[in-house]
């Protein structure tokens, strides 16, 4: 019994000492610390690891150029393991224990919502690089991915104007991004004169595999000869079964075109694309974009990560965000979050598709919208490209968010009600 007791006391003591040690071990030489908050294990690892590598590559390049403010950048990589509460834990650790000056991270909306209260409490800085549903604006976050008006709305316009689609099937995985996007699109289509009965909305769980009934419903929609188009916010593995079922039903992209918002180069690499050829995707960037800066980026990426690796939209968003942060720190002459935040707004930086992106006071970017046709090799043939579109945090197509505006420079509020002329809340709505 004696030894047992001693052992356990020793164990407790070990825990306490290790705490003190981890706590004391971060007093180091002068570097600027960059936190990387992307899942490296679990379901999201396949997508997010690429972004971790992108940030590491950008840091390496920046250090080769002499760093920032004469100091080297140091990456602090953590693994939130696709576990949403762990994102909050790791964000707090990055900000308070590792004392990072900026974070690049998150993919899913739920991970972002998990991190928001922590970074707002501790006044951190996060660059979020993925297309999302909007309806949010945080003082501490820069959204470098697309808002719905930079992806979904232009894609719908393409369907209406270029392809003459008259009936719409909005198919999505049952979570917040498809729900909100489809709610916006439904209203947008109604405003454009599409009758409510010509809009078919359906949600399926994650990893859904039985698509026969839904595909049959979509096909039945076009029984009267009107052109049907599918707007897909289907996420992840479920896509494979969906496109397979379409092909099995003898439907080609000419009969019923599908435009997807979550299918990119990374998702297509290593996949049999036979069933997907000819269908569409809408993004702000494709690897096939014809611009010298893009060719350079692809070359560097392949040299860094491997010849077989592809580039994609969230990587471009990371690239733009990273460079804007570097330039903002240089301009502000400090890594102080408030000063850097102010300096990031208004930053202009060439994006990889040959135009220039600008950070707006609502912490969103201006980006061009590209529509690409899936090719057999998993790349996209760009069929349409717009001028840079300013990202809108609060959509204009829903009555309750139409009155809201985000402007962190003049209004100093991310959720300003233009009717009552008040700031609804300073924190974001997590």
């Amino acid at each position: 019994m004696k030894i047992t007791t001693r052992m356990r006391i020793a164990g407790a003591a070990a825990i306490v000492t290790s705490t003190i040690l981890t706590h004391a071990s971060y007093a180091q030489e002068e570097t600027i610390k960059v936190g990387v908050l992307h899942s490296l294990s679990g379901t999201m690892a396949i997508s997010e690891t690429t972004l971790k590598d992108t940030v590491l590559m950008l840091i390496e390049q920046q250090n080769a150029k002499g760093g920032v403010l004469g100091k080297k950048l140091e990456a602090v990589v953590v693994d939130p393991a696709s576990d949403w509460p762990l994102f909050a834990e790791k964000a707090r650790e990055l900000l308070t224990v590792n004392k990072v000056d900026v974070m690049f991270g998150c993919w899913t909306s739920v991970s972002r919502k998990s991190v928001l209260p922590v970074i707002e409490e501790l006044n951190g800085l996060l660059f979020y690089p993925v297309q999302y549903e909007g309806e949010e604006s945080s003082k501490n976050v820069f959204y470098t991915g697309a808002a719905p008006n930079q992806q979904a709305i232009p894609a719908t316009d393409y369907f209406l104007e270029e392809l003459g689609v008259e009936k719409f099937a909005l198919l999505g995985t049952d979570y917040v991004y498809p729900r909100t996007t489809n709610k916006i699109l439904e209203q947008y289509l109604k405003d454009k004169g599409i009758a409510a009965e010509d809009i078919f909305v359906n949600y399926t769980p994650f990893g859904h595999s039985d698509w026969s009934k839904i595909v049959a419903d979509v096909v039945a929609l076009g029984a009267d000869g009107k052109k049907v188009g599918v707007i897909s916010t289907i996420n992840g593995d479920a896509n494979i079964g969906f496109y397979k079922e379409l092909a099995a039903a003898g439907i080609s992209a000419d009969d019923i075109p599908v435009v997807a918002f979550s299918v990119g180069e990374e998702e297509l690499s290593g996949l049999d694309t036979t069933n997907l050829v000819g269908h569409l995707a809408a993004w702000n960037y494709f690897q096939s974009a014809d611009a010298p800066v893009n060719a350079e980026f692809i070359k560097e990426w392949k040299a860094f990560a491997g010849e077989k690796r592809v580039t994609n939209d969230p990587m471009e968003a990371t690239y733009i965000g990273f460079n804007m942060w570097v330039n903002a720190v240089e301009a502000a002459g400090t890594t102080d979050v408030d000063k850097v935040t102010a300096a990031v707004v208004g930053q202009k930086f060439p994006n990889l598709t040959g135009t220039e992106s600008e950070m707006l006071p609502n912490h969103h970017l201006t980006k061009p919208v590209l529509i690409g046709e899936i090719q057999a090799d998993g790349q996209f043939d760009i069929v349409s490209q717009t001028e840079p579109v300013p990202g809108d945090a609060w959509t204009d197509f829903l009555p309750e968010s139409k009155v809201l505006e985000s402007n962190w420079t003049e209004l100093e509020c991310g959720m300003y009600n233009t009717e009552t002329k008040t700031c609804v809340q300073l924190n974001s709505n997590y």
Partner: protein
């Protein structure tokens, strides 16, 4: 009775003593109340770990002592979290809505406030109506009662149906997996009214206490978790000692025999199953305000399997074993995911923690099961025996 419990199980007194010493030491070292040597971030990790230890004790009670390998106890843990989360989210949002309506010319009506709350909470997932399940969300006491009642009733009904039909062994395990899977799939749906995949977030901001820094709130929750773990340990130790405990262990060892001796086996199992579900729910209700967010992925079947693994690693049928198992795995995972684990260069290949931590942890599980079948807790037996000889 209390004295005889400690005499019969000296490990209980030792555990409570160590827990108290540990709690006081951490509080003194914390940023919120003391020297500031332990970061708030680590206090939160420790507080969450204590909650996981508590649910592991529940698991040990139901599996290690009663022989019911439930692979669904994390469902009760999650439900407890959801119940308290509803109040936290509703009240926090209410404060925001009232504050934002305060500037209006006319004072806000209750109807307007309710509407505002609905839009705030459900607007992001495409609704504005407050679902029926949120009926009691404005009352802390009601939601606290639901923390116990909802998982308790679910366990009671599920257990009654399962045990009455004499479902045992692996079939029961599968049934409990099905239960937690069904619950998590249901909650994933937006229509379930609990915000689907997004779940309930911002739970670390306690309504009415938002002026307090997290450094302070985290210590409070750490202390509450330690207290709950202490009480839970005492309750569990009391349950497994004495006549009731003897019958429970006998059910584990030979169910048929006990039934023929005239004991109502089903009733005993039902009591243990429901009691442990309630303990798990209380642990969950303390865990999620520290974690900050709860969503359906938390009660995916894998979580309950992990729970069984923790107990197996720590050693079944000895309550402190469950605590050791849960604490070891939880703290190791935290350390590995924190990116502080060093890479090991082997010359021809570098073992990067990022690629290998889960493999190493899994390897640890296998090694413990193979070579230390009684778990880490079993090592104490060996030490004690060697000491005596």
């Amino acid at each position: 009775m209390q004295r005889s419990l400690f005499v019969r199980q000296p490990s209980v007194l030792i555990f409570i003593g160590l827990l108290a010493a540990f709690t006081i030491a951490i509080t003194v070292l914390s940023e919120g109340f003391g020297l500031g040597l332990v970061s708030t971030s680590f206090i939160k990790i420790l507080g969450k770990t204590l909650c996981l230890c508590l649910v592991a004790i529940a698991m040990d009670l139901v599996w290690g002592y009663c022989g019911i390998l439930s692979l669904g106890h994390f469902a009760f843990f999650g439900l407890g979290g959801y119940m308290i989360g509803m109040w936290l989210m509703y009240e926090r949002t209410k404060d925001i809505v009232i504050a934002s309506l305060a500037g209006a010319e006319l004072p806000a009506t209750a109807e307007e406030i309710r509407e505002g709350i609905g839009t705030q909470i459900f607007g992001v997932v495409g609704g504005a109506e407050i679902p029926v399940v949120w009926y009691f969300a404005d009352s802390l006491w009601a939601q606290l009662a639901l923390v116990v009642l909802v998982p308790g009733l679910l366990a009671l009904v599920f257990g009654w149906l399962a045990f009455r039909s004499r479902v045992t062994g692996v079939y029961l395990s599968i049934l409990t997996q099905a239960m937690t899977l069904a619950l998590s799939l249901y909650l994933f749906q937006n229509d379930s009214g609990l915000r689907g995949n997004n779940g309930l977030s911002g739970l670390q901001n306690i309504p009415g206490l938002t002026h307090l820094p997290q450094a302070v709130v985290s210590v409070w929750f750490f202390l509450a978790s330690a207290f709950a773990l202490g009480v839970g340990y005492l309750v569990a130790a009391w349950v497994v000692s004495g006549k009731f405990g003897s019958v429970v262990r006998a059910i584990r060892d030979d169910e048929t025999r006990i039934r023929f001796m005239g004991y109502p086996v089903e009733a005993y199992k039902l009591v243990v199953f429901t009691l442990t579900a309630v303990i798990a729910a209380i642990a969950g209700a303390l865990y999620y305000p520290q974690a900050g967010i709860i969503n359906p992925a938390e009660i995916a079947p894998i979580a309950s399997i992990y729970l069984a693994v923790w107990v197996a690693i720590g050693g079944r049928g000895r309550l402190y074993g469950a605590v050791i198992g849960a604490a070891t795995v939880s703290l190791l995972s935290s350390w590995f995911t924190g990116g502080q684990a060093p890479s090991i260069p082997l010359g021809f290949y570098t073992i990067d923690w990022v690629d290998w931590w889960q493999v190493l942890l899994g390897l640890g599980f296998v090694l413990v099961t193979l070579f230390v079948p009684k778990g880490i807790g079993g090592l104490f037996d060996r030490l004690v025996r060697k000491d005596a000889s």
